[in-house]
Amino acid sequence: MRDEPGFGPTTPGPVHDANPGPARLRGAAGDPVPHDSAAKHVSGEAVYTDDIPELPGTLHAYVLQSPRAHARILRLDVSAARRAPGVHAVLTAGDVPGAVDIGPVFPGDPVLAPELVEYVGQAVAAIAAETPGQARAAAALIEAEYEDLPAILTVDEALEAGSYVGPGLTMRLGESAAALAAAPRRLSGSFAMGGQDHFYLEGQIAYALPREDGDMLVHSSTQHPSEVQHLIAKVLGRPDAHVTVEVRRMGGGFGGKETQPALIACIAALLADATGRPVKYRMDRDDDMVMTGKRHDFQVRYEVGFDEEGRIQGIEMDLAARCGMSPDLSNAVVDRAMFHADNAYFLANATVTGLRCKTNTVSNTAFRGFGGPQGMVAIEYVVDEIARALGRDPLDVRRANLYGPGRDLTHYHQPVEDGPLLAALMDDLEASCAYRERRRAIDAFNAAHRVLKKGLALTPVKFGISFTATHMNQAGALVHLYQDGSIQLNHGGTEMGQGVHTKVAQLVATEFGVGLDRVRIMATSTGKVPNTSPTAASSGTDLNGAAALRAAREIRNRMTLFLAEHFAEPAESVAFRDGIVAVGGRTLAFAEACHLAYVNRIHLSAAGYYRTPKIWWDRTEARGRPFYYFACGAAATEVLVDTLTGEYRFLRADLLHDCGTSVNPAIDLGQVEGGYVQGLGWLSFEELWWDAHGRLRTHAPSTYKIPTGRDVPADFRVRLVANQPNREDVVHRSKAVGEPPLMLAISGYLALKDAVAAVGGHRFPVHLDAPATPERVLMACEAVRALGAAGPWAGP
């Protein structure tokens, strides 16, 4: 049932079809070809950073971590560690030749703690030794003395103390206070949602190789090579041009390798610089989970006024995030949470405030959705509570609040044109998943079962596409066409499994009218494409695909002009398709045309550059058009809960997602399914648990549980929306797909809430924080039973 968009060049030109080639070449834009590395993945041949053969003399890094959440370092004696077997260097903050701070946007992240430690796990000293074991053993010889300072660990404590990493921001539309006062019905409340560890299967790693003249080549598992390059240069006290950062592929990123790899790469580079030898720093899983940032956990407070239909008249919402010990990207993360506190709903009179709490915990960071999911959970929870208060089906209340004609302005003053699309998606899904019939069947089931309860929820997703830091919406590419007709493709995007290389290569192949096999995908390197933005915000294909297309088009245009002149035919008669180049009535094999151009001294290499049009954002006024467009979807999830233990199974999920005209429907479908399951993990049983000393106790898969195959709904129906080209001029009229589907999983969370509500016959409010672990579900059931005055459950 998925969309199979038609084949065609991105900008079709006039084609004289004198000698048509093969019917269709493999891998054109729109083809569901496998990931470019699929065969290498399954055969073990794909090379990740840790698989690069180590040069002789390679040293291994280990880092001494702070055992305290907040303390002054009184004494740090590394002399014994320096004398330990195999050790070549031990560095502390004072040994850093350049700047110590590696904060990506704002300062606050010292590469090694100078005199203060601000979270358990913070890097205090770095060791390079001949084996990882020797480096670890040496760390145990470092003598450190600390003086504890009061530690703030939770959002509540931070709010109480007024502890923030940056100023708050408020977005306003209309008059919320007056609307609340005038509303027929009002509700207020608060709830919390937890963070999430990225749990990329490949942990953080960097391999630094010193070169001549103080240059440094660093293989880094990073979504942001340019930033890693810049920060390495900064800590070494050298110009950016002395540092090259390269990454062929990551074993997963999900936002966790946007700013976080800088710490790992800078330490490897500092040690390599200090010793003159190659240094590899591979964090083991526990260190990775303790030392690097995660999705922000949020506390939400709300007051909402609504009418008897559940239509929101006025709303005030505070979104308070635990940012950890430094700003990192938290400013933008909380902004994006605020931007998505409407999800798909028109909030006529809204005041949305974002608070950035500073705590003595690891600095939270980018994670797929970048705050958007938290904002969306907030509004969906509120809408669910409105429905429960009115005794209405939550789907009806959602429908009543959807954006639509005349109700189409966000609380940051960007018009929304997607109301009809959202309504159509929900119509389609409501019918195709048989929502109403299943609702009745579930009611009957719940009436017949005392212990088992089912829940169902259908929720929309509207996710803004573009970096909200407008300057980041730019990309570069470098395309080389060789005289034998083969193509090397370089662009600023990084491959973390999402298939950006495959999709961009499909676009380039289509531009030249050749098969995908001709396009060689190169590792991402700051030496090939400079000043790149991170591969983040779902933007990889939109931005880098457009830049690569421009480079390819530049070369194609040069060839077109040359061939037209060479054969004395009009330029309009030159066409690249099906592996040939048609010039007037003549056809040349693609390679032949390339060779001909080369011997006639035509430049067959070009850099492409792209910046997103139309967007602007005035943060001071909290208004603008931060998003080029929205990506939309809808999902319905059904769950079965055992109300004796709180355990549950997701029985069925129906997903419908809008990728515009997909560049690769197989890859996009993979993003939709994978995003949904990752979101389901976040909201169900992925629980980060800190003890009273600020130590993360869930720092390995033995204690931190991401979904397994059996946690995926047994009945899993996923479709891409057909015939819905992006109205904006995005490559192939596609839409970004990396992050938006994660939020389809909110339907799973609200299905759990629905099942808990069924314990009380849907007559009582339900408080259910996320993640909705079996424990939280059982305790929520107990609370509903208590409200039901039946007392604790006492048997059938």
Partner: protein, 482 residues
């Protein structure tokens, strides 16, 4: 004379002389430049390092998936090791399990993929492997993927399950059997690593007894699913290590009319069909214990002997009245399993004594059930595990064994709750009193797995569930994992 580990890697014999005895197979492979096998966690929980071990079983080669990250190199002795690099002939076509993953778009970042490939490969070589949904899920529950959402991987597994099982490994089986036959040794492997730490792999009980006589403080190693983590996570350097995996007597399973006797070296995978046929509930529990990889390596004996408070199988064994056969220099004694656990990781074992076998009596008249409650259904450690057995005479409880894991520092019986049942009719009122008594029987911990309040509530509710199920009111429940 050096101790030499000899095994088949792919299709050729490899000899490694006197390696560090607790080098993991993963570390060794990657140091050889065989980097297809990945480290995702180094604790046997993510499956990225999954490799396949081949060993001779009844004249055939049997393949099983294991975690290379917590498998010590000397444990390969006499076996065949296959990694992801071995499946495809050089420059040849992909193996059917590899091709299925490609065709179904089963990889995104690809880092977990070699592990999935090897789990599927092991199942490909089991006739009954991947034949139904539960079998597919059981086979893959020990492999985490963070990208795909699993659907394409499960689809690939379904295709493999429905396809012919012919591949070049089947063709080459006779040659491989001959190679492995050539690796057989008559006396156990003994080796000394570069730092002087020793490894012994006795072949029979007599050898084992002699070794323990000489080294009463030796670390006894069975499947390494726990001791492996001492090394990879706690960075301990055990010395000497006595590995039980080649002691033939410890791998025996005896099914007698009134009892089942499981040697301490019997893996959970080997015990599963035996337990499941006698006690389906126990079988269901074991299928949720660890993962296929863990059950292939981990042993019941090891699970008991390490005295973890959260061993999933302990409450069931206690409820069934299991008894342990302990052996010290050939002198045997038998104790009830609950008497083995003295305190947190403290046991009744004397120096030089080892667990030889566990015997589980059948309970003809009794009603038995066992439950596990955890955040995630598969491969999680229980917040609460329970094993219940009650014997009734004319509706009155004559014997009750209620055992819990996760509720105290040891797997433990609920004395107060048992007392509240015995001599009383098996009714809701009686059960309510027993539920109440659980509050004084236990004072569980708050930790990352669950709060104390949740543990107590769940323990009580599990007893309630047991009552409802045993009195024919199960239709009110329908197991949530049905």
């Amino acid at each position: 004379m050096p101790g030499t580990v000899r095994f088949v890697l792919g299709d050729r014999v490899v000899e490694v002389s006197d390696p560090d005895p607790t080098t993991t197979v993963l570390q060794w492979l990657r140091a050889q430049g065989r980097t297809g096998t990945k480290e995702g966690c180094a604790e046997g929980d993510c499956g990225a390092c999954t490799v396949v071990l081949g060993s001779v079983d009844d004249g055939r080669i049997s393949y099983r998936a294991v975690n290379a990250c917590i498998l010590f190199l000397p444990m390969l002795d006499g076996r065949q090791l296959l990694t992801v690099e071995d499946l495809r002939e050089p420059r040849g076509p992909l193996h059917p399990v590899q091709q299925a993953l490609v065709d179904h778009h089963g990889s995104q970042c690809g880092f977990c993929t070699p592990g999935f490939v090897m789990s599927l490969f092991a199942e490909f070589h089991r006739e009954e492997g991947l034949k139904d949904e539960e079998g597919i899920q059981d086979a893959l529950a020990g492999n985490l993927c963070r990208c795909t959402g699993y659907r394409p991987i499960l689809d690939a597994a379904r295709r493999v399950g429905a396809a012919s099982r012919a591949d070049r490994f089947a063709v080459e089986e006779p040659r491989m059997l001959a190679l492995l036959e050539g690796l057989r040794r008559d006396t156990g492997l003994a080796l000394t690593g570069p730092d002087g730490r020793r490894w012994f792999a006795p072949r029979c009980l007599a050898e084992l007894q002699a070794l323990l006589d000489a080294h009463p403080d030796a670390t006894l190693l069975a499947g390494a699913t726990d001791v492996g983590l001492w090394v990879t996570k706690q960075h301990r350097r055990p010395d000497p290590v006595v590995w039980l995996g080649d002691v033939a007597e410890l791998r025996r399973i005896a099914q007698e009319p009134d009892r089942i006797v499981l040697g301490a070296g019997v893996s959970y995978a080997a015990a599963l069909p035996v337990l499941a046929s006698r006690w389906p509930a126990f079988g269901a529990l074991v299928r949720r214990l660890g993962s296929a990889q863990i059950r292939n390596s981990g042993t019941i004996g090891g699970n008991i002997a390490n005295a973890s408070p959260i061993g999933d199988g302990m409450p069931a064994l206690i409820a069934l009245g299991a008894r342990l056969i302990l052996n010290r220099a050939g002198l045997r004694r038998t104790i009830p399993i609950e008497d083995y656990f003295l305190g947190y990781r403290r046991t009744a074992l004397l120096p030089g004594e080892f667990l030889e076998a566990v015997e589980v009596p059948s309970v003809p008249g009794g009603t038995f059930a066992t439950y596990k409650v955890s955040k995630r259904r598969d491969q999680d450690i229980s917040a609460v595990a329970a094993g219940f057995s009650v014997t009734l005479e004319e509706g009155v409880v004559t014997e009750a064994r209620l055992a819990f894991g996760g509720m105290a520092e040891i797997p433990k019986r609920a004395a107060g709750a048992e007392a509240a049942l015995v001599g009383r009719p098996w009714t809701l009122e009686t059960v309510a009193a027993a539920m109440e008594a659980l509050g004084t029987d236990f004072a569980p911990l708050n930790d990352m797995r669950a709060s104390a309040a949740y543990r107590i509530l769940v323990a009580r509710n599990l007893l309630m569930r047991f009552h409802l199920e045993s009195t024919g009111q199960a239709e009110l429940l329908e197991a949530a994992d049905a």
